[in-house]
């Protein structure tokens, strides 16, 4: 477990996304004051998930084929994707967004 600060909460619009470059490349999703993190590419095809539609029910819809995922668990909620997105632990402390890439 190694949390590192990767963004400030103000960097991310509500229901917006933020890309954390590096290995692995990761997308942050903001819903209200919560922030979630998943792998960069959709599990169905190689769609960039930072371009997805973020829902206030803590979901994201793939920009290309509209597969829907639960941001909390990564679970695929709707086809054509069936594999879950890899998720990563995130903490928000004093406006700083901290990510553990594992």
């Amino acid at each position: 477990m190694a949390f590192e600060t990767v963004a400030s909460l103000d960097d991310i619009e509500d229901e917006g996304t933020f890309v954390v470059d590096g290995e692995p490349k990761i997308v942050l999703f903001r819903v209200g004051t919560d922030v979630f993190a998943t792998q960069f590419f959709c599990t169905h095809e190689d769609a960039p998930m930072d371009d997805g539609w973020v829902g206030d029910d803590c979901t994201v819809e793939c920009p290309w084929h509209a597969s829907k995922f639960d941001l909390r668990t990564g679970e695929a909620l709707g086809p054509p994707a069936f594999e879950p997105l890899q998720t990563y632990p995130v903490r928000v402390e004093d406006g700083a967004v901290m990510l553990d890439r594992g």
Binding site: E45, D51, W53, P63, H65
Partner: protein, 443 residues
């Protein structure tokens, strides 16, 4: 869904026979029109290639697509296109057709998206029309296909003219400004408004069973019909207590060049009264209040001395500045058009003024507008008569006008005739004929 007749594929032999026909149908010197140009399916097909395949065409107003991912499904002639705001703020226009089996990439009229996924097999294109995903790529061997070669077909050029988005398929097309020729002063005056313009209330679309050129030609060249076609509507629209009087002789000039045409009249007390009748007192006062700012952009003569009445930008963009309707005459086979109409307003106008404009435009020139219905009735009437073979061989007289080329007062630039003329109609058809006689790339 009703389908209009199957399109015809032209061959070089048919094209050259059609060229001879076109040359014989339009005589702009004496001013005659062979009405087969309104009804012949072969000429319609050549027109798609050589007029709509070449000219700058209005495809959208930028206010329809303010943010990244916003799109408007438009047309260029009979071809469906998507007009899309990109992430960098620019605008892309491309054929709304999947490269796999040819369905539309997008079936919505307008909206916001991240990408366009064809509903048939799921091929997906980005906001610029580039193919980004062949669905089930691993399973179907999609990786053998070079996606960069199979993007949606892009237009050759795009131009933003004070918020109006134009596109052309022709790489060799002149610049948009050059394409306006000697009419540029008039279009600048109409569209270069303080604070810019926007379209409000959504697009209204309705089909008229008549060839698109009837709308285009009338907006370019015909104030002549008003006192007859619209007399009942004008009487009905008279404010209470006002008497309908014989209209005074129309002052001003009819401008024309490169197929474009329209009428500009002197801004006199009567002009404000006409605005008040058409759009209401509040809109009239608002218009007066913008003239100083407008003059800084386009000069005193254009902003304070001139009332723009009607115009058509070749081939198929019509505007009635007084009634604030902007429209496209979309061809739909030779025997029908679809009118796409918007209410055009100043972006910075107060909300209640915009609302007044919207209501008044609906009453006059819109799908249920009283004047609009008068016009559609005439065009439909002619198209119906043209079912007759004798009727289609009978030349139309297009000789009205004084045939002047310069405004004696020097106030109105470019080639102009007196306001009630068919010089702009002759110009419209002569330009149309010239384009119809010149091959385009890729025939």
């Amino acid at each position: 869904m009703a389908l209009h007749p199957a399109p015809i594929t032209l061959t070089p032999g048919v094209r050259s026979a059609l060229e001879e026909k076109v040359a014989s149908l339009i005589d702009s010197e004496t001013g005659t029109i062979g009405p087969e140009i309104y009804a012949d399916p072969y000429l319609h097909e050549l027109e798609q290639e050589r007029v709509f395949g070449r000219c700058w065409l209005l495809v959208a107003h930028e206010s329809l697509i303010p943010k990244a991912g916003d799109f408007f499904a438009s047309r260029m002639g009979e071809d469906p296109v998507l007009v899309v705001r990109q992430k960098d703020g620019s605008i892309a226009v491309f054929l709304n057709q999947c490269r796999h089996r040819g369905a539309r990439l997008c079936r919505a009229d307008l909206g916001k998206t991240k990408a366009f996924q064809c509903t048939y097999h799921g091929w997906t294109y980005d906001l610029g029309g580039n193919l980004v995903s062949i669905s089930k790529s691993d399973a179907v061997g999609g990786d053998r296909i070079d996606k960069s070669e199979w993007g949606a077909i892009k237009v050759a050029k795009i131009h933003n003219f004070y918020g109006l988005i134009f596109a052309t398929w022709d790489e060799d097309a002149p610049s948009f400004e050059d394409s306006l020729g000697e009419t540029r002063w008039y279009w600048e005056a109409m569209f270069n408004r303080p604070g810019g313009t926007e379209v409000i209330g959504g697009v209204q679309k309705w089909e008229v069973p008549a060839n698109w050129k009837f709308g285009a030609e009338q907006f370019a060249s015909d104030i002549y019909h008003f006192d007859y076609t619209h007399v009942a509507s004008a009487l009905a629209m008279m404010p209470e207590g006002m008497e309908y009087q014989e209209p005074p002789p129309l002052e001003g000039r009819q401008f024309r060049d490169r197929g474009h045409g329209g009428v500009a009249t002197p801004m006199v007390e009567m002009s404000d009264m006409q605005t008040a009748m058409a759009m209401g007192m509040e809109v009239m006062r608002y218009n007066q209040s913008t003239r100083d700012a407008h003059a800084k952009l386009v000069g005193e003569q254009a902003a304070k001395q001139t009332q723009f009445v009607h115009a058509n930008m070749f081939p198929n963009m019509g505007i009635l500045p007084l009634n604030q309707t902007l429209r496209i005459w979309q061809p739909k086979g030779p025997n029908a058009m679809e009118v796409w109409a918007w209410t055009l307003v100043d972006r910075d106008a107060p909300e209640d003024i915009k609302k007044q404009c919207r209501i008044k435009t609906q009453m006059t020139f819109a799908s249920s507008g009283v004047f609009e219905q008068d016009d559609a009735e005439n065009w439909t009437e002619i198209q119906r008569v043209l079912r007759g073979t004798k009727a289609r061989k009978t030349l139309f007289n297009n000789m009205i006008g004084a045939n002047e080329s310069k405004d004696p007062s020097g106030k109105y630039p470019g080639r102009t005739d007196r306001a009630q003329s068919e010089a702009a109609s002759r110009e419209f058809y002569s330009w149309w004929r010239d384009l119809m006689l010149q091959p385009v790339q890729g025939e």
